[in-house]
Symmetry: C2
């Protein structure tokens, strides 16, 4: 927030008495209030827009050469951790895509490190040329059926509202607790309201009746619509609707028909979860805009959805428009059809020029230190043994790149009463090793779908509790992979015959790299290649898919550190089929 001096200087610039820091001339300003294009100058002072008009006096004049000037894009809901880089590095990949503000739910790192994790994200973002607003994770842990690194009850969350960038309560996923009126989640909701914050929803598959529950509680946004009808239901119920296009959740084209000229101001865009390779290849919110325009949305409407609508939705009154008093987050577009970005300004600084990032703008005066929780477990190879009382068991049916699994059954081979993986039948062993509390918990089950011929893969990215999850064809490689990622402080590894084929260290909580995102992209490509050398399955991301096999709140069968989890029974069950 500015002080009196800055405000005074800005006002002086606004009526031509003072000298601007920057004037942008010859631009076509997209006015997100009126929907018009205006041919005027923009004057910038102290990172804010001082005025729109005919300006002359400035330290620097930028000639927009007839390009369109639009407000910086806002991702209305994104989990930064999905990109496996911290906020400062996330800014590097987002800004060339015109995204100058994100509203994030640091749910993953909170599951590993609690409030320290959230504070790390806030501090790491502070020096970045990107505004990262935080909605506080509402469900940590996600369920009591697994061990995670922290428990964030209402009392733990409340002090975090003191932080300027904390603006509400993140996607309330625990629908049953809301419906049943669990005191802690209701207290979190009431605290958010009292702090003037908004509350995001997570209404995957909710009916109109379920929506009543959500709305009655005061939850006002949703990013889980997968059809136009669902989007309209949510709009009618009173929610802001976020149209999602991420790595896995690709809902934009299905939901877009809900948008009309009259209701468009209730829609925004989000990515939710998007991996580095997709951010590099497609982009971020700029891709949502491109897709929307290519599919019939009027370009200025799409720009409004990506800017002022998101700012209104999240109550960010000084973002999302090119107008006096707004932060000078400005994207230069060659045209309004392709949304090709040439220049990006963040708080009045050019951070992208000729489509290229100006790396010096991304300097850090300090690199955030993060006391990454030790990966502690008392695991030995013997813990991987899977004794079975019968050969007819439940199998987890992996579905490529999906949060869901199939509920399967099958015959397996035993030796000395112990399960034997069988590459020929694509029956691999899956293991979850609790890593936060040294409980010694190891969950073991059988999964099909990975097509492993040999070796094993393991990762510390395992939703939502982020224990260690591994899949392999033999105990030795599984144990070796787990030991290796433990040794490197968290990450992803592919091993075979006792050798590391490829790894990606994620030393920040076992979730985030401390390297540039380009290194992450390259490591992911190497991991894919390594996986291809030990598997015959193709066309999916095995590490992403593996990371969802531990998420018990999504159907059907999952594995936690406490064992095989049956979503329908909402309980841990034995592997053996008994009925």
């Amino acid at each position: 927030m500015e002080n009196v001096r800055e405000l005074k200087e800005r006002i002086a610039v606004s009526d031509y008495r003072g000298k601007a820091d920057i004037i942008i001339t010859n631009g076509r300003i997209v006015n997100v209030f009126s929907g018009e294009v205006m041919h005027q100058d923009i004057a910038i002072k102290n990172g804010y827009i001082a005025g729109i008009g005919e300006f002359e006096e400035a330290e620097e004049i930028i000639d927009a050469k007839g390009q369109y000037l639009v407000p910086g894009f806002i991702d209305a809901h994104v989990h930064v951790e999905s990109a496996m880089v911290p906020p400062h590095e996330f800014a590097r990949v987002l800004l060339p895509n015109g995204v100058t503000t994100v509203v994030t739910d640091p749910h993953e790192i909170a599951n590993v490190a609690g409030t320290s994790g959230i504070e790390f994200m806030l501090e790491d973002a502070e020096e970045a040329p990107l505004d990262m607003f935080v909605m506080l994770p509402s469900s940590v842990p996600a369920t009591p059926m697994e061990n995670n690194g922290a428990t964030l009850d209402a009392k733990a969350l409340k002090p975090l509202y003191r932080h300027d960038k904390v603006i509400g309560l993140a996607e309330v996923m625990d629908f049953p607790s809301v419906a049943s009126g669990s005191e802690d989640i209701l207290q979190k909701i009431i605290d958010a309201k009292r702090e003037g914050g908004r509350i995001d929803g997570h209404g995957a598959g909710l009916s109109s009746l379920d929506l009543n529950n959500y709305l009655a509680a005061g939850i006002r946004t949703d990013h889980e619509s997968t059809t136009a009808e669902e989007a309209l239901d949510r709009l009618r119920a009173g929610m802001f609707v976020m149209l999602r296009e991420g790595t896995v959740g690709r809902d934009l084209l299905q939901t877009l028909p809900a948008v009309t000229e009259r209701n468009s101001h209730r829609f925004t865009f989000c990515t939710d979860d998007k991996l580095i390779p997709d951010l590099i290849e497609e982009g971020s919110i700029n891709y949502n805009i491109q897709l929307a325009i290519a599919n019939g949305i009027e370009p200025i409407t799409a720009i409004q959805m990506a800017t002022i609508n998101a700012a209104t939705c999240h109550n960010l009154p000084y973002l999302g428009a090119i107008a006096a008093g707004y932060q000078a987050d400005i994207v230069f577009l060659r045209d309004l059809e392709t949304v090709k970005i040439s220049r990006v300004m963040k708080r009045g600084e050019v951070v992208v020029e000729d489509g290229e990032r100006i790396e010096t703008r991304f300097n850090r005066t300090r690199r955030m230190r993060f006391e990454s929780p030790a990966i502690c477990h008392t695991f030995t190879e013997k813990d991987l043994a899977l004794p079975l009382k019968s050969t007819h068991i439940h199998l987890i049916g992996m579905q490529p790149n999906s949060l869901f699994t199939e509920r399967l059954q099958g015959e397996v081979t035993l030796k000395d009463g112990l399960f034997q993986p069988d590459p020929a039948k694509d029956l691999a062993k899956m293991v979850v090793v609790e890593r936060h509390k040294a409980t010694g918990n190891v969950g073991v089950a059988v999964v099909t779908g990975f097509g492993l011929k040999k070796g094993a893969i393991a990762t510390t990215v395992a939703h939502d509790s982020h224990n260690i999850v591994a899949v392999g064809t033999n105990d030795a490689d599984i144990a070796f992979a787990i030991a290796h990622i433990t040794e490197i402080g968290g990450g992803i590894a592919v091993v075979s015959d006792g050798k590391i084929l490829k790894d990606l260290p994620l030393p920040i909580g076992g979730l985030l790299s401390d390297q540039p995102y380009e290194a992450v992209e390259s490591a992911l490509a190497g991991l894919d290649e390594a996986f291809a050398s030990i598997s015959e399955a193709e066309g999916f991301d095995p590490f992403l898919t593996l990371s969802f096999l531990t998420l018990p709140v999504i159907p059907e069968l999952k594995l936690t550190d406490q064992g095989l989890f049956d979503f329908r029974k909402f309980a841990v069950i034995p592997l053996e089929v008994t009925e």
Copy 2:
């Protein structure tokens, strides 16, 4: 704000497990999000809407019989004091008009009584079946060229943000101070932003360049547009535009052409200042809606402007819609064309039935006590003498019902060097007696336009400092009128030949009656009649007009307790014409 129990009960009702307090069936719900009309039930619990759907279990079922159900109307900007009744009584006149929420600037009472005045308004509103949100008066006193009852600097205002109903900074009228960067006004603006509040503007006649100043400071609303072009300028600049239809400011028909389907969500309605007789005869925001519809605005768009748009503008996230989680403020309309109101609910209680107010809903358990500042002055009739050095002087040219005056000059008659009023030439004496600080200040000037044949009128309602202002044909009657309204603790009086023809006591700060609004209406009618008996001027409100003759921030010539004020010179000047 609700507690956990209430929230839990509401959620239980929302999905049919719990029993609602009230169900409204057979209504046509106007959905302000989608613009549709929905045939569904509304369930209400603890004053909030629990759900929209098919409900059965309730303590009470209301059959809407096919009527339209719309959210309670919101007046986005109104000075309650203009109605000369306190908030609880204001609620009585507003609710039959469907207005369930007002956003007010208690600027008048603050000029008399400072923070005590603001606190009185807040407390008086607490028990009323109306939500009154307060924007803190930004310019008390309005200018240094007059004495008022209190000075509210940034430091004085800041603690008031603690009150739940204080939501921002009221119309920033002191445009020159903003432009010149006066520290106190900028600090007020920064404080409002820090508290998450919005800042209202007052951009009467401002150019695009002036608007830059306003916007650069962070001011985001305006209710002073008088043409469609002005409204569009403000919209484009990034302001919410409030279309005004009050007693004096009647701008709706001129500004309405600015509204389109696409930009309508940036428009709201306000009355600003509306007297009791007009509120009774025309109504309040319901009249703005009727006028808008009669002049081509689609009915649901007009309803949106009067409800959700105002709630968005002022960041009131639980008002302005019929949807789960919103306060149960519901207006029943017979149709969407005439906007005839049959029933009004406030926080789930029926307060108006068959168009008639249910008086028991307006009971007060306590009547607010207000230590009304004493009207202190050391005035005697001798202070009214107006010695002049020449007979050619400046005359205040009163304009009927206008905030403006004409800058006139004329010849006057002297006796013993003192001005003599001349009814034949319509030259009356005008007097302002400082009443707050016992300074003994008396301003005297000459006014034309009141058509007074005899007697005098006086009032303690005199913008913005609310000193005593009187106009008369002779010193004895002027002095008598002033003495009388002093004796009754403030108010309005018409006197002639040493007799009170009619008065209206306003014992609350000299601004507000302590009687029912019906008594105020009747007294005003009596005052009009009394004025007609001493004047030949017609067709205007003499007391309202008189109350603006002391307002120095509006052109051209005004009178303060310090003397004749020239708006162009922005200074007190002698009466005698010297150039």
